[in-house]
C-alpha cells in the first residue's frame, strides 16, 4: 500500500477528485453526526487512515477516536463480537487495540498512533452489528488520549483521498 512517490503523484494528478466532492461521496468518510466528529465544535483536526483499514479522528485537545473503515466492515461481513481494550491501556502505534469477529474470522484491530485508552464503546458489547451499520461513526471502538498530536504527521497514515486510491490499486 505504500507506493513510490512518482507513481503516487502521477496517479494523483490524473485521477484526483475534488476534496469536498470525495468527502461527500465516500463511504469511508467520517459520519458527521456522530461523536467522533462532533466531539469538538470545530470537528476533528484530522482524520487519517491506515493500510490495515483503521481510521483515527483526532481533535485539538489530543483526544482521538479509532474505528475500522466502511471498506473493511463490508469486506469482513456481519460482525458477531467486538473485543474492546481495557481502559488505561497504553498503546504504541501498531499495537493491538482489540479484535473483531465476523463470520468465523477474528481480525486484529491496531492503534494507528501512540496513546492511552480513556474510553471504549460499550454499546458494541450488546450490538456488534453497529460495526456494519455505521463503522465510520456510531461504531467507534476506542477513545484515546494521544501521546503527541505531532504523530498525526506520520507518513504511514493516509488521507481519505490516499486511502481511497490505495483501495483502487489493490482490488
Amino acid at each position: 500500500m505504500i507506493r513510490t512517490c512518482s507513481q503516487s503523484v502521477l496517479k494523483f494528478s490524473a485521477r484526483s477528485t475534488p476534496r469536498l466532492f470525495l468527502r461527500a461521496q465516500s463511504s469511508n468518510a467520517l459520519t458527521s453526526s456522530q461523536i467522533p466528529f462532533t466531539f469538538s465544535k470545530a470537528g476533528p483536526l484530522a482524520v487519517k487512515y491506515t493500510s490495515q483499514h483503521e481510521w483515527i479522528a483526532a481533535h485539538q485537545d489530543g483526544t482521538a477516536f479509532v474505528g475500522i473503515t466502511k471498506y473493511a466492515a463490508d469486506a469482513l461481513g456481519d460482525a458477531t463480537y467486538v473485543e474492546l481494550p481495557d481502559i488505561d491501556t497504553e498503546l504504541e502505534a501498531g499495537d493491538s487495540l482489540g479484535s473483531l469477529e465476523s463470520v468465523k474470522s477474528a481480525s486484529e484491530i491496531y492503534s494507528p498512533l501512540a496513546g492511552t485508552v480513556v474510553e471504549v464503546n460499550e454499546s458494541l458489547n450488546d450490538s456488534p452489528q453497529l460495526i456494519n451499520e455505521d463503522p465510520m461513526g456510531e461504531a467507534w471502538i476506542a477513545k484515546l488520549r494521544l501521546s503527541n498530536l505531532e504523530d498525526l504527521k506520520n507518513e504511514e497514515l493516509m488521507s481519505l483521498e490516499k486511502y481511497e486510491e490505495s483501495l483502487k490499486e489493490d482490488h
Binding site: M1, Y81, E83, S105, A106, N125
Partner: protein, 407 residues
Amino acid sequence: MLKLSRHRNLAHVLAQCAPVQYRSLGSQTPFDLEPEAQDDKYADLNTMYSQMFTEGGKSAKRAASQPSNNSFDIDALNAEIAEAYNFAPRPISGDFFEQIVKSPGRFIIQSLSTNPYYNLALEEYVFRNTPAPKGKLFSNERLLFYVNDKCVVIGKNQTPWKELFLDNCETKGYKYVRRRSGGGAVVHDLGNVNYSYLTSRDNFQREYFNKQIVHWLTDLRPEAEIHLNHRGDIHLNDFKVSGSAFKIAMGKSYHHGTMLINSDLSSFKGLLKPDNVEHISWSGGSVESVRSNVSNMKEAGFSSTDEFINICTDGFRRTMQEEVPVYLVDETTTTTDQLSKNTKDLASGEWLYESGPSFSVTIAHHSISVVKGVIKESTIPGCTGQHFKDFVNLLRQNQILGVNVKI
C-alpha cells in the same frame, strides 16, 4: 559436486533411516532402491551420511569428527534432498524452521506432532513471522497440515463452560483447547486432519481454499457428493465433514479447517453442549456455535489423513504451478524459544479460562457475572472474586448451598 552414482547410494542409506516418508509426488523414483545398487567404493561416504541422518551419528560421532557440521547444515541438506527427490527425510530443526518461515517463498509444513497446543503454536508462529511486504505482490503462501490427538476446540470469542461439557471431556480424555481464530466449537481426534492456508489480507477470500479442496477431491472421486454449503463449509451427502475458522492480522490472513476422515464420531457425543441446557441461560457477547450433523470422508472412499494431505499437496502445487517444498516438523526436533512460549501460552489457564469474553449466566434463580474468568457480581453470597472455574468445580461437588444445578 555429488555424482549420480553417489546419489543412488545416498538414497539407499536414507531409505533405511527411520523415519523416511515418501511424498505423494513419487510418480517416478529417481534412484534405484535395490541393495545391489550399492557400490562399496562409496562406503565411506555412505557411513558419513548414515551418521548424519541417524541419532547415533547425531550425538557423539558427529561432534568428534565434524565439529563444523551443526544441525542447521544437516537440515539444509535434508531439505535440498527432499526437494530434489520429493521425499522428506526427517523433521527440520528449530533454527531451520525459523529461517524458512522468516524468508519469502511458498512452502508446506506437515506436523508429526499430535499435541494440539504445539500444532496451534506452530501455526501461530508461521502466521506471525511470514513476511508480508507492503505494496508488493504476495507470494509467500504457506500451507500447514496437522492431526491433533483427542481434543475439543473452541473459537477465541467463545465461553468454554457454555460450549463444552468440560467434565465429560476430561473423563473421556479430550483436551480442552481455545484457538486464536474465530468460529465455533469442534472435536478433533486422530481421524481428523487440519489444514491451514496462509495468504495476505488483500488476497483473503473466505471460500477460496475450501473451493480448491472440493475441486481436488472431486477430481479424484467425481462420483462423491462433495460440495460447499451456504456457510462455505464442505459437506458430503448433506453431512458436514469440515469446519472452518479464520484469522486476519498484520496484513496477513489464514483459513484453517478440520476434515473428518475416519474419526470416532460416536465418541464425540456428550462433549459439546446443545443450544439449551435446562435451568441455565447465558448472556454476553460470545459467539454462537452452529450445531450440525457430521460424517466422515471415509464414506466417500477416502481412507486416511495422509491420503488427504497428499491430495491437497498435489493440488496446491498444481494451483501454484510450483514444486512447493514439504517440510516435516515435530515437537522434539523442531523447537525454538518462541515456539515453546506459544505452546505454553495456548495451554495456560490464563488463555483457556481467563481471557475470553465477559459473560453473565443464570443458574436456577441465581445470576452471576464474570469478567476475565473472575466472578464480579453474584446473587449467591460469598462467591464474588472467585474464579469461575473453581466455582464450577464446587458446584459439581454440590458444595454451593442451595444450588442444585451443575454447569
